[in-house]
């Protein structure tokens, strides 16, 4: 080949490489912008190249891949202490390790872990017998209670409970155990002599916290979720009062405009019960965060003598104390402690002052107490910073110490209740360092990335799920209302939001999120990587309660599946492909990830098409539809499908509809359908 020809070939080759390289580069920029537009902010990151430098390709294509090979390098093992109990002799501390599936027994004389006892999945709470020889542990994802022989460090029995057992309490004679079943919204009464559940009592929606009164006559159970209310009415959440003598529900009381009541405790005299609660502002247009326009947090007080209920704010005008979880009252009845799992604080409450404020409310001297952002000054005497995500607490029987489970710091803090100073920290021997995914979990649970710390991701997505509320987030109030969706197992279900505008979690949690939701500085690229990695890879559905362990469908579910997949109506007419359930809801996630007009838009919606939601564990997510109008699955077809636009369904009999719903309830994690 002549030299000139060689030169020409080289030139063409060089040009091709240049063009390919350039085009590839531009493509990567375009792809990046499409997936993450607005992820990073600030003048220095306004150009595309700088954005690419800030969020690397590997960020999205490694840790966000559920079960991906590289995920193991971003993950470490932790104990995640969740709830606690102290032995009556003040010598042992019992800790549930939510992540490790272990109950730890710590010798308080030397702060050493002396026993690790494997229990079921996601151990939640622990109770200890008066003689300190037995411990009872709820296994939230195993639907059981483990009975532990403390001396030998062994599980001696496992008792079946309801769905998602969480809080538990022994009755006065220690013959019965009352267990709050969060997922089945009931309370198991377990006969400890026989080792079986003897009774099941209907509770509020998602009961969690449970406590027995000092005289042993009543058990109070508080709930996380609101009972079903009329559309566009404020939530109200049940406190179930159980008479231990009759083992029947004696009374159902409700905190209005409140939900996510996680724990409850009594004063020593039993005249007051305290609970933690969240006061959302989902019906108020989300025009601003300032002045508590999105969410506030409160101490719920129930007077057992008068039956009156009070909601006393925990916030201050410019600072909010997010996600109160546990409340514990000292044996002398003078102080209460509240853990703010979102704010990483403990609030110290003066109970005498609470009583004074209650009197002023009764006398009409304080009006609108529940919304008064200055009131907490009357009874909160101190705010004490904690480690990450303080959850369960326990006070030593002598009242000297408060033990705090700092879940995401993997340690127990020990606070002197007199000096209000920390005395020590007990490390749970998990990983020494925070992995990327752990950092993401901390960010998820922390309110520090919201203007004035008003709420965390957890506040609207408790237990990584959803809060069952519909928020008013659009520019024009009252339009495009948005039903909160679950964050469980999002991998493979993009795009996101009901309008399908967010093509990735990066976009969902990026600049627009900080501009319109958190109203403060956006996540840094590193933090965003961690958060997105956590959300997309680490959040699972609990076991489906309607699905058998073998995955075999019941007869009704099988019939329902046939209806779900049917191609003809009852009278033999062909159902067009687009009108068949399975067309828009194909497994494994039961979504085609496209937008459709199924006739559910209202005159306050600016769109007629909505993204097809996935159906995995759909039974956990009422209310339904983009604006939360349908309280039940049944209503989707009996109320909101007059024209068969949401699948051909009007020919179905009641029995057929029941079967279809039975099948829908049984749809579990996508892993069963891959």
């Amino acid at each position: 080949m002549k030299i000139s020809n060689r030169l020409i070939v080289l030139l063409i080759l060089g040009l091709l490489i240049f063009l390919m390289g350039y085009r590839g580069y531009r493509w990567s920029l375009d792809h990046y912008e499409y997936m993450t537009i607005g992820v990073v902010t600030g003048d220095i990151l306004n150009n595309r190249e700088a954005k690419i430098a800030a969020v690397k390709c590997l960020s999205c294509h490694t840790y966000t891949q559920k079960d991906g090979f590289l995920l193991q390098f971003a993950k470490k093992d932790y104990s995640s202490p969740y709830n606690l109990a102290v032995s009556p002799d003040n010598r042992k501390l019992f800790v549930t390790g939510q992540e490790s599936g272990v109950v730890y027994i710590i010798d308080l004389t030397n702060n050493q872990i002396i026993s690790r006892i494997s229990v079921g999945d996601l151990p939640h709470s622990v109770a200890v017998s008066r003689d300190g020889r037995k411990a009872y542990v709820t296994n939230q994802w195993s639907n059981s209670v483990s009975v532990i022989d403390v001396e030998n460090g062994l599980v001696e029995n496992t008792i079946e409970a309801g769905g998602g057992p969480s809080g538990l309490v022994l009755d006065q004679n220690e013959e019965f155990l009352y267990v709050a079943n969060t997922y089945t919204s009931d309370i198991s009464v377990i006969d400890l002599n026989r080792g079986v559940e003897s009774k099941r009592l209907r509770a509020g929606n998602y009961p969690t916290g449970i406590k027995i009164s000092p005289d042993g006559r009543h058990v109070l159970a508080v709930s996380q979720r609101s009972v079903l209310v009329e559309y566009r009415e404020p939530p109200k959440t049940e406190i179930t009062v159980i008479n231990t003598g009759t083992q029947r529900v004696q009374q159902r009381k409700y905190f209005e405009e409140a939900h996510i009541m996680e724990k409850v405790d009594f004063t020593p005299t039993g005249d007051l019960a305290f609970t933690t609660l969240v006061r959302p502002r989902n019906l108020v247009p989300a025009v601003q965060v300032e002045n508590g326009w999105m969410m506030t947090f409160a101490l719920g007080v129930i007077s057992l003598e008068t039956g009156k209920m009070y909601q006393l704010p925990l916030d201050e005008p410019n600072t909010f104390y997010a996600d109160p979880y546990d409340v514990r009252i000292t044996p002398d009845g003078k102080q209460a402690f509240i853990s703010h799992s979102g704010g990483d604080y403990i609030s110290v409450v003066n109970i005498d002052n609470v009583r004074e404020v209650m009197r002023h409310i009764d006398d009409g001297l304080i009006l609108n107490a529940e919304n008064d952002l200055t009131l907490s000054d009357e009874y909160i005497t101190k705010r004490i910073a904690t480690g990450s995500n303080p959850k369960g607490m326990e006070i030593s029987p002598d009242g000297s110490y408060l033990f705090i489970a700092e879940r995401l710091s993997d340690q127990i803090a020990v606070l002197n209740t007199r000096t209000l100073e920390y005395e020590k920290s007990i490390h749970m021997k998990g990983a020494d360092q925070y992995s990327l995914l752990r950092k993401g979990e901390q960010l998820f649970n922390n309110s520090g990335r919201t203007f004035q710390n008003q709420y965390s991701c957890y506040s609207c997505h408790p237990d990584n799920h959803e809060d069952g509320l519909t928020y008013d987030m659009d520019f024009y109030p009252g339009e495009d209302l948005s039903n909160v969706q679950t964050l469980r197992e999002l991998a493979g279900t993009s795009p996101f939001k009901w309008n399908g505008n967010n093509v990735s979690i990066y976009m969902q949690c990026g600049m627009r999120f900080s501009t319109f939701v958190t109203r403060t500085e956006a996540f840094s690229p590193d933090d965003l990587n961690a958060l997105v990695g956590y959300i997309t890879s680490q959040i699972s559905h609990p076991p489906n309660l309607y699905r058998s362990e073998t995955g075999e469908l019941t007869e009704a579910q099988r019939r329902g599946k046939e209806i779900f997949e049917r191609t003809r109506t009852n009278d033999g007419r062909v159902i067009e492909v687009r009108d068949q359930c399975i067309t828009c809801h194909p497994p494994p996630n039961f979504t085609d990830r496209l937008k459709h007009d199924v006739g559910t838009a209202t005159d306050r919606d600016n769109h007629t098409e909505f993204l097809t939601p996935h159906l995995n564990n759909i039974y956990e997510s009422p209310p339904y539809l983009h604006d939360g109008r349908a309280n039940t699955l049944e209503e989707l077809w009996t109320v909101y499908n007059d024209d068969d636009l949401h699948g051909v369904a009007n020919d179905m009999t009641k029995d057929q509809l029941n079967d279809l719903i039975e099948y829908l309830l049984s749809i579990g994690s996508a892993k069963y359908y891959n």
């Binding site: 902010t41 600030g42 003048d43 566009r232 404020p234 939530p235 405009e257 006061r279 959302p280 502002r281 989902n282 019906l283 108020v284 247009p285 025009v287 601003q288 300032e290 002045n291 508590g292 326009w293 506030t296 704010p313 201050e316 005008p317 410019n318 600072t319 009006l367 609108n368 919304n371 008064d372 952002l373 200055t374 000054d377 203007f451 004035q452 008013d472 520019f475 024009y476 109030p477 009252g478 600049m511 900080s514 501009t515 319109f516 109203r519 403060t520 500085e521 956006a522």
Partner: protein
């Protein structure tokens, strides 16, 4: 030979490295920067905001507290007068207000502390003062205006540090000045209404894009704010005020960011002298510009947490004002995102009533909301039965709201002046401007109806439009 070459290369590289360090050397931690004013100038107590522009022959100087005289360094020697230094987040620059020549207007300048180079940020026909760095390294500052009907006042602007992208962010007939930055990323400024009547000074907070402007702290009756309000490491906010009910004594007041109205403390009251300005130290102490008695000049003192003021530098020939202390910043203010959209030349307001007002009123039958503009009532409409209203109104238009009964008597309001930026959304709970009550979780009746479009979109008034002329002369480095 080879060895010598290596030594030469290493030597040259070391020189380059060391000279780089020297060239970039900023003032080290522990230095104090102040405004120095000749002692023959009368420093009156109300010398905050626009009034400080009367200071001539002032200079910005730095010194080290342990040896103030020997370490004194004049930073603005080439200016006829320079005042109000504010440090950048990295402590490598200051912004200040200065006159290059005696007859000039006061303009905003930037000074690089490592090489003393200055750059002019504004150049216009007005006086600009009280600059401060925003968290994203833009600058906020005040510029004066005069209007034949509305009197005179000052407006807050933001601009990049090269003077570009200049934007006014306040739009009301007020004198806005003395801005500082809160840890939450908002600007905290002193603001006095000037029309239709002169109001007392208030501390207002607003986001750097001009949104969500609201009352942050209403000082007690009888007090008048004198200085900038500054937040310290513990999120306490300090400012000086004159107590008109106590012989016009100057007083140092502290309140907490979290709960301003339940936390006021008088930290220090001068028996005979005056406190001019302050700067919090991370240790918890304060640097104050303090005049022990009226016979003495203002000096720099350290006020410890027990309330003891110890002199650091006093000079009978000069007043020392406006201290700034070089040390690690107590907090990194948040960079607040902006949701504004220029395409929307309007914003919306949702007002909800408090439950106690609803109980007290029973019903709002026959009552109306009036939207009052600078030149009269822009609109009026019936109030909803739950007391709520929902309006859309022109951006950058100052308005006040009031509720009137069927006899047109004012029942509530008028509120202070407020405005909306392009695409801004605001919410108010009740008529108390402190806004210490969160809204009840109810659907406001007003949003079940279309918004009320308030007519009379007023163009920005008071001469506070973004004036391109302000950019002239800006951006080039001098000296």
């Amino acid at each position: 030979m080879k060895k010598t070459g290596i030594i030469v290369v290493v030597f040259v590289l070391s020189l380059v490295y060391i000279s780089g360090i020297l060239v970039n050397r900023s003032l080290p931690d522990g230095h104090i920067i102040i405004t120095r004013v000749p002692a023959d100038k009368n420093i009156n107590l109300s010398i905050s905001g626009v009034e400080k522009l009367g200071l001539e022959n002032a200079q910005i100087v730095s010194f080290y507290p342990n040896k103030p005289e020997s370490s004194l360094n004049i930073l603005t020697a080439n200016f006829a007068s320079a005042i109000s230094p504010e440090l950048s987040p990295d402590n490598r620059h200051i912004v200040f207000s200065a006159k290059k020549e005696p007859g000039d207007n006061w303009q905003i300048w930037l000074l690089n502390l490592s090489n003393s180079r200055t750059a002019q940020i504004t150049g216009n026909s007005r006086n600009c003062f009280d600059p401060v760095f925003l968290p994203d390294e833009r600058i906020a500052f005040s510029c004066t205006w005069e209007h034949e009907r509305y009197g005179s006042g000052s407006t807050l602007y933001t601009a990049r540090s090269d003077g570009s992208n200049l934007k006014p962010i306040t739009f009301h007939p007020h004198a806005d000045h003395s801005g500082t930055i809160l840890h939450d990323g908002r600007i905290l400024m002193v603001s006095n209404q000037v029309y239709p009547e002169t109001g007392i000074s208030k501390l207002l907070a607003l986001r750097p894009d001009g949104t969500n402007t609201g009352l942050f702290y209403q000082i007690p009756d009888g007090f008048e704010i004198l200085s900038k309000a500054r937040e310290n490491k513990e999120n306490h906010i300090f400012f000086t005020a004159v107590n008109q009910q106590n012989g016009n004594r100057s007083t140092l007041i502290r309140f907490s960011y979290n709960n301003p109205y339940n936390s006021k403390q008088i930290v220090y009251t001068s028996e005979a002298g005056n406190i001019h300005s302050l700067y919090p130290e991370n240790s918890g102490d304060l640097f104050i510009s303090y005049q022990k008695n009226t016979e003495e000049t203002y000096g720099i003192y350290r006020l410890d947490q027990q309330g003891m003021a110890k002199p650091i530098y006093i000079d009978s020939d000069y007043h020392f004002l406006e201290p700034a202390f070089i040390e690690a910043k107590p907090f990194t203010p948040r960079k607040l995102p902006s949701a504004l959209r220029e395409a929307r030349n309007f914003g919306i307001v949702v007002f909800v009533e408090t439950p106690q007002a609803l109980m007290a009123s029973g019903s709002f039958a026959g009552e109306k909301i009036q939207v009052v503009g600078l030149d009269g009532i822009l609109d009026e409409f019936p109030v909803m039965s739950d007391g709520s209203f929902y309006v859309r109104m022109g951006a950058r238009t100052p308005v006040r709201f009031q509720r009137v009964n069927s006899q047109n008597e004012i029942v509530e309001g008028p509120t202070s002046w407020l405005w909306l930026m392009t695409g801004e959304r605001r919410g108010f709970t009740g008529w108390d401007e402190k806004q210490l009550t969160a809204p009840a979780n109810r659907v406001p009746e007003a949003i079940n109806h279309p918004y009320r479009d308030v007519p009379g979109f007023e163009t920005p008034v008071l001469g506070i439009q973004a004036d391109e002329k302000m950019l002239s002369e800006a951006g080039h480095e001098n000296q």
